[in-house]
């Protein structure tokens, strides 16, 4: 009995150790957003300041990059969510010819290396002579998150009790009304989860974006560039803000998920 407690306690300590490891770079990132550094690169701790918060827009191209990231994420989420939800519905609800190949392609989309996806898109765009920038990056972002959304929605659709829809039909609802009043609200958590996932994938993406964005900068691309001369505190702050938004969304989602069916 003694021994069991000890093992549990060791394991517990280990879990916190790993959590600490996971958070270490995040903590440093947040802290150095408050560093009163005077030099162009933010390397050593010089004291606490809030001044960078007021000077967030000091790098106009950084601001543009962040805006690009957000625009890209929002637009790709909208497209991905619509297309992915439709696919999830089809895959979860119906049996049809072509389901196998669809699953296969989705599987390939999820499991082929991002690098290869980016590279092959680049091959296509170069060969066709497409002007690379926001639209091409958008295409790529939708591409890599689509399957994730479809699968998330499909899982929800499969779990949906078909008698709910029948009950609605039985109570006089047309198929259209049944979809909007019953099916959609019921799969909504899956759709939201898929959308959040797509947002997270898009806002964070570096590899495919690097291949497909042409001259357009996004937040991760800007950071990648900035690492050449040291990352200014503004990046830490923007990272902190995005992190905070993510945390709020995740916490809110998990709290409301507990209240949802």
């Amino acid at each position: 009995m003694r021994k069991r407690k000890l093992a549990d306690r060791l394991l517990f300590g280990y879990v916190w150790l790993i959590i600490a490891w996971l958070f270490l770079p995040i903590a440093v990132m947040i802290a150095f957003g408050f560093n009163d550094t005077r030099s162009k690169s933010n390397v050593s701790w010089q004291g606490f300041t809030l001044k960078w918060w007021g000077r967030l827009d000091e790098y106009p191209d950084l601001t543009i990059a962040v805006m690009n990231s957000i625009k890209l994420a929002v637009l790709s989420v909208v497209i991905t969510t619509v297309l992915g939800t439709l696919m999830g519905l089809a895959l979860g609800r119906y049996r049809f010819k072509g389901q196998g190949p669809t699953n296969l392609v989705m599987f390939a989309a999820i499991s082929s290396p991002e690098l290869v996806m980016g590279a092959s898109l680049l091959s296509l765009f170069i060969s066709v002579g497409v002007d690379m920038g926001f639209p091409t990056a958008l295409i790529a972002h939708v591409l890599f998150s689509l399957s994730f959304v479809a699968i998330t929605v499909r899982a929800r659709v499969v779990g949906l009790d078909p008698s709910l829809e029948e009950a609605a039909r039985d109570l006089g609802a047309s198929s259209w009304t049944t979809f909007w009043r019953i099916t959609f609200p019921m799969i909504l958590p899956g759709v939201v989860a898929g959308a959040l996932l797509a947002f997270a994938l898009s806002i964070d993406d570096f590899v495919i974006t690097q291949f497909t964005s042409g001259a357009m900068q996004t937040f991760p691309l800007w950071i990648w560039g900035a690492t050449r001369i040291g990352v200014p505190p503004q990046v830490n702050i923007l990272g902190t803000l995005i992190f905070a938004v993510g945390v709020v969304i995740a916490v809110a989602n998990s709290v409301t998920a507990r209240r949802r069916p």
């Binding site: 790098y59 191209d61 002579g129 001259a215 690492t227 001369i229």
Partner: protein, 373 residues
């Protein structure tokens, strides 16, 4: 397939053809290297003055880390004849610029719109070998690639061979640019890079490979060598003069030397991609920075060799007005051989070897496996 087109020799009326019907649009997208312009908080004072004087709004981006990756990025678009997102960019007089020139990616300059260049540019930057008559480019600044080190860990450096010193194993920084390291390899072997041949390249490559295999080289850097040096990841490194100068003025304990074997001098040049949306605005800026007053603002900040000799007196005048640290700094600047090099200084320095498309490929294939393997 992807078609690359070899440019024909520019026709006489090429300039007129390009500029015909082009108007000032009031906006300008400028791609430059990091820490390569004067900055005050979120403002770029020289650009601000330009905006006020000319009514052209500038969007300035530190988009270029390295000639290789920059050219790699814009090449597909230029080949396809589409906008690269910039109207003005700064490229070094190396391989990539050579390629851009031979592929006809650049707009020929209308020198009638560059009176300040004609009036104020140093004679030595006019009509360079790589771009006769400055047909496509005029310099932004010039600079020297030498050795920078941290005297806390490294004994006084005088020779290229210090980059091969086993004492600094894992603490040596080298550059990823093929021409940059090729020159250093050749300097170390006593070869004049400007006159080198394939056999020399192979010898230099072997020398560099030896350095790499010995585990001396921490990393082949782009412009990020300076960050690594400042943070102490490397103690001794190939470096660009102005970068080090800037750090020294910020109080970092660093030294920059031109080794006894020689050093590379290069020129970073403004040029207009032929797909630019606002070429007239770009041309306006090119000329604007050749006013001694503006060139002084730039040199006081970026600390590289200025193409405008008249700035020296203005710097000294500013020094007279300033006090304390600032005064000291400006005086140092005006006296520095790295900013206003003498003929004797320049004699020790060599430029890059000029390559055509055949030799270019061979050259890259010899040096790239070292830096990018």
């Amino acid at each position: 397939g992807v078609e690359g087109k070899k440019a024909e020799a520019p026709k006489k009326d090429a300039v007129a053809d390009f500029w015909a019907g082009k108007k000032q649009n009031g906006t300008l997208r400028f791609a430059n290297w990091p820490l390569y312009i004067d900055k005050d908080g979120k403002d770029y004072p020289s650009l601000k003055m330009f905006e006020q004087d000319k009514g052209i709004k500038v969007s300035y981006t530190e988009a270029i880390q390295d000639n290789g990756s920059w050219f790699g990025k814009i090449q597909p678009q230029l080949a396809a004849g589409t906008d690269i997102g910039f109207d003005l960019m700064v490229m070094t007089n190396g391989n990539q610029l050579q390629r851009a020139l031979s592929l006809g990616y650049l707009a020929p300059l209308d020198h009638s719109k560059l009176p300040n260049f004609a009036a104020n540019a140093a004679q030595k930057v006019k009509n360079p070998a790589w771009d006769p008559n400055n047909t496509f480019t005029i310099p932004w600044t010039l600079g020297v690639t030498g050795i920078a080190y941290n005297p806390e860990f490294v004994d006084e450096v005088t020779s290229m061979n210090d980059l091969w010193n086993p004492k600094y194993k894992g603490k040596v920084g080298m550059m990823i640019d093929a021409q940059e390291i090729a020159n250093f390899g050749m300097f170390a072997l006593g070869i004049d890079p400007e006159k080198s041949k394939e056999a020399d390249w192979r010898k230099a490559a072997a020398k560099l490979q030896e350095q790499r295999d010995a585990g001396l080289v921490r990393k082949y850097y782009e412009n990020d060598y300076i960050d690594a040096l400042v943070r102490g990841d490397i103690w001794i490194t190939m470096a660009w003069s102005g970068d080090v100068f800037q750090q020294i003025t910020e109080g970092k304990n660093l030294k920059f030397v031109v080794p006894q074997e020689g050093a590379t001098i290069w020129s970073d040049n403004m040029c207009i991609p032929k797909t630019a949306q606002n070429p007239v605005d770009a041309l306006a800026l090119m000329d604007y920075v050749y006013q001694p007053k503006i060139a002084t603002m730039l040199v006081e900040y970026i600390n590289y060799i200025t193409p405008v000799p008249a700035t020296k007196d203005l710097v000294l005048a500013n020094a007279a007005k300033a006090e304390g640290e600032d005064k000291e700094f400006l005086e140092q600047l005006a006296g520095s051989p790295l900013i206003y090099p003498s003929e004797a200084d320049l004699a020790k320095m060599r430029g890059y070897l000029m390559l055509d498309s055949k030799t270019d490929q061979l050259f890259e294939s010899i040096f790239q496996p070292i830096t990018q393997g």
